[in-house]
């Protein structure tokens, strides 16, 4: 069900994505941690010019933890993470088709399921590495600059987001299993996810959006308990997607 040779090759192919993804997110994270003080300054300045904007700033700046989280999880990590998940998933299967290597790969004496499981493992591992390395560096930086970071809460939020991104990866893998071209697959999956994210705009339809579940805003802001249901829901969503992708990929003839 798992091939070490394939796993190593996958990670090798991801190495640039891993490097750039981690660097970019880490840079964004460090910048957020560092910019807190600067924004406090701007806040004071704005007080004089635009009191309304100053009010918004106030909320943001009231809590360092909240600030860090708001820049990372619902914003940078989420958006960038989704892009990474899309790229990884669409190149994993559809990418091999348009590069011409799919015939060689499927000709080797391993099952389609083994290919899918091994590739997913590598893809999800790569995603996780990027998410965790960048977040940990950011949090350590923030701790050093201002201290007072609520580690428990931050790590839990990161874990929730990580699982969410794995679900996005798995969902995109369905398109990848059907597609012949990584770019078209990625674009299609992105379009679908974009439309789907619209459900998050209104409170009544929020629960339909996986993105809303990944953010866990209510819990982080203190207005709700830890979203265990969201977590479980995302895991089930990921597993179901993998199952569907496996069914599609196993039947395709290349």
């Amino acid at each position: 069900m798992f091939s070490y040779s394939l796993f190593r090759k996958e990670l090798r192919e991801h190495r640039w994505l891993l490097l750039i993804g981690t660097l970019v997110l880490t840079a964004l994270g460090i910048f957020s941690a560092w910019s807190f003080d600067m924004l406090a300054m701007y806040g004071d300045m704005l007080q004089g010019f635009m009191p309304q904007l100053a009010k918004q700033f106030e909320q943001l700046l009231a809590d360092y933890n909240f600030y860090i989280w708001s820049q990372l999880h619902p914003k940078n990590l989420l958006q960038f993470g989704i892009v990474l998940a899309l790229i990884l998933a669409s190149t994993d299967l559809a990418g091999e088709v348009n590069r011409g290597s799919i015939q060689y790969l499927t000709g080797l004496p391993i099952s389609r399921r083994t290919i899918l499981i091994t590739k997913s493992a590598a893809g999800m591992l790569s995603l996780s590495i990027i998410v965790w390395v960048s977040t940990l560096v950011t949090l350590v930086t923030a701790e050093l600059l201002e201290s007072g970071i609520l580690w428990g809460k931050m790590l839990a939020a990161t874990a929730l987001l990580n699982i969410g991104l794995m679900a996005v990866y798995s969902f995109t893998l369905i398109f990848s299993a059907l597609g012949n071209d990584a770019v078209k697959t990625g674009a299609l999956a992105a379009a679908v996810l974009l439309i789907w994210s619209a459900a998050g705009l209104h409170p009544t339809t929020q629960f339909l959006s996986p993105f809303w579940h990944m953010k866990g805003i209510d819990w982080f802001m203190g207005t709700g308990p830890f979203p265990w249901l969201s977590l479980v829901g995302l895991i089930i969503f990921a597993l179901a997607s993998l199952y569907i992708a496996d069914g599609i990929f196993s039947k395709r003839e290349f």
Partner: protein, 298 residues
């Protein structure tokens, strides 16, 4: 005898098109079986069905006693397969690809791989994308042989290669399979290659297996005889089983024989004649006969 490859009524339909029409293949173990046919005849489809990379529309196939559909993975671990196109992973170096490939075969022989690379003059540090088509074919054969398979299945292994590469490829192939234990099944439309190397022959035209016999049997029986009879030829003689076609040539006949050569020739010898000579056809001539016949059938 347990055949190395055996199919029964193997058929495949693609989008309503009947690509393979119920073929019954029997490949003797230890033989080198040349599977010839024009482009589009269904050779690649046959091979992919044998390996279990495609599902048949009907019929079944067995390779080394294993069912192509249900035991495909086990089958593929015992067979060295070289596809027509060998893209591999262009970014890998030769040695990286070899190491990658090795991970899928428990019976991998790294020493054999190294020796073959040397014989083929393939540099381990060169990237696959820098290799020519000929070199990639050789790399494909190296990967296929290195896990000591009981059988090699090659799809058009020398097509698109210039004579130098073709020669080298065939040299290593005949050398490495000189024992009687490795069966080789290869498809080709390059008849001269098949003539040198194969000891069994299968002709596929338009999805149908038109002939399947040993090369020796084939060359012996598939001959043309020129005969000028002294008296008008008896109808019964010319209608003998095994005479595929008759052509009048001046006062004589050109008989294309496909079976029972000995019997027919002896009969002709006993029939009063002025001229009687047997001409051996080369594979191309015979092949064109079969191909032309198929067209007329349609």
């Amino acid at each position: 005898m347990d055949f190395a490859i055996e199919t029964q009524g193997l058929s495949k339909v693609f989008n309503g098109r009947h690509v393979l029409k119920g073929i019954d293949l029997q490949v003797p173990p230890g033989s080198i079986f040349g599977f010839i046919g024009p482009n589009g005849a269904g050779k690649t489809t046959t091979i992919r069905l044998l390996l279990g990379l495609l599902q048949p529309s009907s019929g079944q196939a067995k390779v080394l006693g294993l069912n192509s559909q249900s035991e495909s993975i086990q089958l593929r671990s015992k067979v060295g397969y070289v596809a027509e196109e060998n893209h591999f992973y262009p970014w890998m170096k030769v040695e990286e690809l070899v190491r990658f490939n090795a991970g899928f075969y428990p019976r991998w022989d790294q020493e054999r791989a190294r020796k073959l690379l040397e014989m083929f003059d393939l540099q381990p540090g060169v990237k696959v994308r820098e290799l020519s088509k000929g070199m990639r074919a050789q790399l494909g054969l190296t990967l296929a042989l290195a896990h000591r398979p009981q059988m090699l299945i090659l799809d058009e292994p020398t097509s698109g290669l210039d004579p130098v590469w073709r020669r080298k490829f065939l040299q290593i192939l005949t050398q490495e399979t000189a024992d009687d234990e490795t069966t080789v099944f290869f498809s080709s439309h390059i008849l001269s290659d098949v003539e040198r190397v194969a000891d069994w022959l299968g002709i596929l035209i338009n999805g149908k297996l038109r002939a399947m016999r040993s090369m020796e049997d084939f060359k012996y029986n598939e001959r043309v005889v020129r005969v000028v009879f002294q008296h008008p030829a008896p109808e019964s003689l010319l209608a003998t089983d095994g005479i595929k076609s008759i052509q009048r040539q001046g006062s004589g006949y050109l008989l294309t024989i496909t079976e029972n050569f000995d019997e027919i020739y002896r009969t002709l010898e006993r029939t009063p004649h002025f001229v009687l000579e047997a001409v051996e056809q080369d594979l191309e001539g015979v092949f064109l006969d079969y191909a032309g016949e198929e067209e007329n059938d349609v």
